[in-house]
Subunit: 337 residues, 2 copies
């Protein structure tokens, strides 16, 4: 049986859900692809790093019982990237959305060593897609990133594998679930500060809520989509971005009185020979498809020259759906590499 070695960078909720999925599907993978998946490195932010012969279930148990690894390896995350013994780097570290780092450096480091890369991190696709894709191609490596937008929902793969020869002419959608949730709670009559406080308590809204509320997360996601699907060659700072920070309860009530709902819409389109992108609150009719995207669901609509407009909707995902995105990319490594 062949062996495929993984280095996991980042081992938060999504990383651990991915590890559980690997354990669950181990036999099925071995039977179908005649390959044993072995984890040879795990890097965490504050819980220590592990390298060597890792027993995945044991590593999960240690974190659950002690909150950290009991016998960590004294090395940095970059040490693992540069010197680790792996075939596939799985990049799931926390993101600086204004730079895409440190994920970009991790990915570049792995590609320079001719390792395949799977990233769940939108930053690299938003900030450095072209250079990383070119590098992967030069090095003959696989570079996979389905999870970066809408978890494991096939948006990149949908276009690549099921819409062959079709050219994407427009992309739009509701890509940030935090703002979608906030707008819905506001419409239900709750106060802004109460919503934020409740969302933080549930772990649903990040400490720095501005990333979502001011539209930075949405801008990074539409940029990632446009760079891959429309060869946009843009970065998130080129997105015409307006968040929901100035939307008041009165605005929402006023819209409701006219049968409208406010949604934070992302859009990308071609004009004057280049791709333009925007993120901004828009009013849509209550019966509109966009209005039906509720709570933590999200939606992307893709228009192509040959297949008109299609939309794909992810309904209230759990962390397992993020894990599946990474897992699906791993299965593509098994099939394609």
């Amino acid at each position: 049986m062949k062996e495929l070695k993984l280095a996991l960078l980042g081992f938060g909720n999504a990383g651990r859900a991915f590890a559980r999925l690997l354990l669950e599907k181990q036999e099925e993978i071995e039977a179908r692809w005649n390959t044993r998946i072995v984890v040879t490195a795990i890097a965490t932010g504050s819980r220590g790093n592990l390298t060597g012969q890792i027993q995945l279930q044991d590593a999960l148990n240690q974190l659950e019982q002690n909150g950290k690894f009991t016998d960590p390896t004294p090395c940095s995350t970059m040490d693992i990237v540069i010197n680790g013994d792996y075939d596939v780097l799985v990049e799931m570290t926390p993101l600086n959305i204004h730079t895409g780092q440190p994920a970009i450096d991790h990915i570049r480091g792995a590609l320079l060593r001719r390792k395949h890369v799977i990233t769940a991190n939108k930053g690299p696709i938003a900030w450095a897609y072209d250079q990383l894709q070119d590098l992967a191609r030069q090095q003959g490596c696989g570079f996979y990133y389905e999870t970066t937008v809408m978890d494991g929902t096939p948006v990149f793969n949908l276009t690549e594998h099921t819409l062959k020869l079709a050219k994407v002419t427009e992309v739009s959608g509701i890509l940030n679930t935090t703002t979608n949730y906030i707008l819905e709670e506001l419409a239900a009559g709750k106060a802004y500060d109460d919503i934020i406080a409740a969302g933080r308590k549930l772990g649903f809204i990040e400490a720095d809520a501005a990333m979502d509320i001011e539209g930075y997360d949405a801008a990074a996601k539409i940029t990632a989509l446009l760079n891959v699907l429309m060869q946009a060659h843009i970065t998130p700072d080129q997105v015409d971005r307006t968040g929901i920070e100035h939307i008041t309860e009165a605005d929402i009530q006023d819209a409701a009185a006219r049968g409208k709902v406010i949604k934070l819409l992302c859009r990308g389109w071609r004009e004057d020979g280049r791709v333009h992108a925007s993120v901004r609150p828009v009013e849509v009719d209550r019966g509109d498809l966009l209005a039906a995207v509720d709570s933590t669901s999200s939606l992307v609509s893709i228009t192509t020259d040959l297949m008109g407009k299609l939309s794909i909707l992810e309904h209230d995902p759990l962390i397992e759906q993020t894990a599946y995105g990474v897992f699906g990319d791993l299965l593509r490594v098994l099939e394609e590499q």
Copy 2:
């Protein structure tokens, strides 16, 4: 350059749109797959058949100018299936929805000769999927049918190519656009008979409207989905089917007064060790996703163990989207065979 020979059975609006797409994309296909696509047979219902060295543009022109082929080959459609010189049979003949014929016999005939098959015809997938798929596997042939539900919208390919190892646990959707259109027009206050008359005039509602209105078309489509996605091993007569023929304007007004909309919903689910299916009118909230599927749009929702619930929506397709479904399958023949 390699050559791939096609026999086109059925040359109505969709068949001719497919032919135009072939002509338009000919160079791109030759460049990418180093293969010249050649049409060696065209069978029409009442316009005559053609075989031999067919100039596709010329064949299209003949039909446009004369309504039939000027120098048809004296042979039957079955002659082409059995004796024709082709690599891929493209089955687009008119369907008997109660039997799946004659498409099933055409497909079986081609597979027995070890030819690849593309069908745009839902009948064979609803009535004889298992036996045709088994035969294709035994004969080492490709058998493609993306167009049979929702035109070229990737529903079968979505699951096969982008949701690997995920098991489908439930399928639902709005699959019949004629009834969706009729229900919407009724809700807008138009009279049943006027809607049918107008739809017939526009060519939108078939002469035999019962196929749509009584839910036979929807039952065939949900059966096709369930046979492929959930290995249901069922036929359309096993679907618990209720059409919209008994829905009155009063029912719709009454629902509207309660903030509801009536939609013809198809569903399939596993229970007691087998797959059950139903087609029936249901009331949904006006803000619901199903309510947002308007006019000739359609929707399918697929729930899997690993990726939760995803929905894919096709917005107001044209005949070109049917043609693209067949075209996309042809590209898969080029890649996989």
